[in-house]
């Protein structure tokens, strides 16, 4: 059998994180004309690493798995407009496409996982 944290719960966390990021991007796009609004984002990789290492520890010594609490941070280094808003249309569009593909990847992996199970049930036929 597989070792380490179960595949499905990992993929589930990944989907949740991608959806949170999608939400941050939607909020950034919605506030493209709001004076003083700052671009928010979450660091998908570091958040996912946090969840993975927590899940690994809990599978080793039976500790409580860490709760998924994505931390939103303000994006630095973007050009600020005179009204104090620093939402970049290109940056958000790119991030939206990226997040969408990452979400699709996780969905495909989940489907693949189910297909494998189904194939095992059917004896490989």
């Amino acid at each position: 059998m597989t070792t380490g944290p179960p595949m499905m719960s990992m993929l589930e966390s990944y989907l949740k994180l991608s959806a949170s990021r999608e939400q941050a991007i939607s909020a950034n796009m919605a506030n493209i004309d709001t004076p003083g609004y700052r671009t928010h984002d979450i660091n998908l990789e570091s958040e996912f690493n946090k969840v993975m290492s927590g899940a690994l520890r809990s599978s080793e010594d039976g500790a409580e798995p860490v709760q998924l609490t994505p931390v939103f941070h303000l994006v630095q280094g973007l050009m600020e407009r005179p009204d104090g808003n620093n939402v970049s249309l290109d940056h958000e569009g790119l991030m939206l496409a990226k997040t969408q593909l990452q979400y699709q990847l996780a969905i495909q992996l989940i489907q693949n996982h189910f297909h494998q199970t189904l194939s095992a049930i059917n004896g490989g036929s």
Binding site: L15, K16, S18, A19, S20, E22, Q23, A24, I25, S26, A27, N28, M29, A30, N31, I32, D33, T34, P35, Y37, H40, Q67, L68, T69, P70, V71, F72, L89, E92, G93, L96, A97, Q100, Y103, Q104, I107, I110, Q111, F114, H115
Partner: protein
Amino acid sequence: MNLFDSLSISGSALLAERQRSEVIAANMANAQTTHTEAGGPYRRREVVFETRGASSFRLALANNGEFHGPTPGSVRISDVVDDPSPALMRYEPGHPDANKEGYVAYPAINPTAEMVDLMDSVRAYQLNASAVAATKQMIQQAIGILKS
């Protein structure tokens, strides 16, 4: 559910941008209006956008990643303000709204500025509409797991 929150955030922006286009359309329609119910020429209007629940954005996220109450990060029009710039005075002594010297107060509306504003609004609307399409696709993919 997170993705449906994204939809409502984008939806709030679509609504706000639509209202903004309406205000711009009213400005352009009333570019020559010298007579209003309040008296005097039409005053150019501008919308003020505001983030809703932005202060609780990270607070709510620290709270187990779940949101309660109004969706944080959504946008709304907090106010529609009058442009304080003075009216344009044109010499038209025959006009019924002319003052004693024969000058008529016209609204200080620049059609070019209004058109640029309108284009900005339309682009922002398109941007948010594409965000809605992206979110919708993600939800459909998630539903697709059930269909495999």
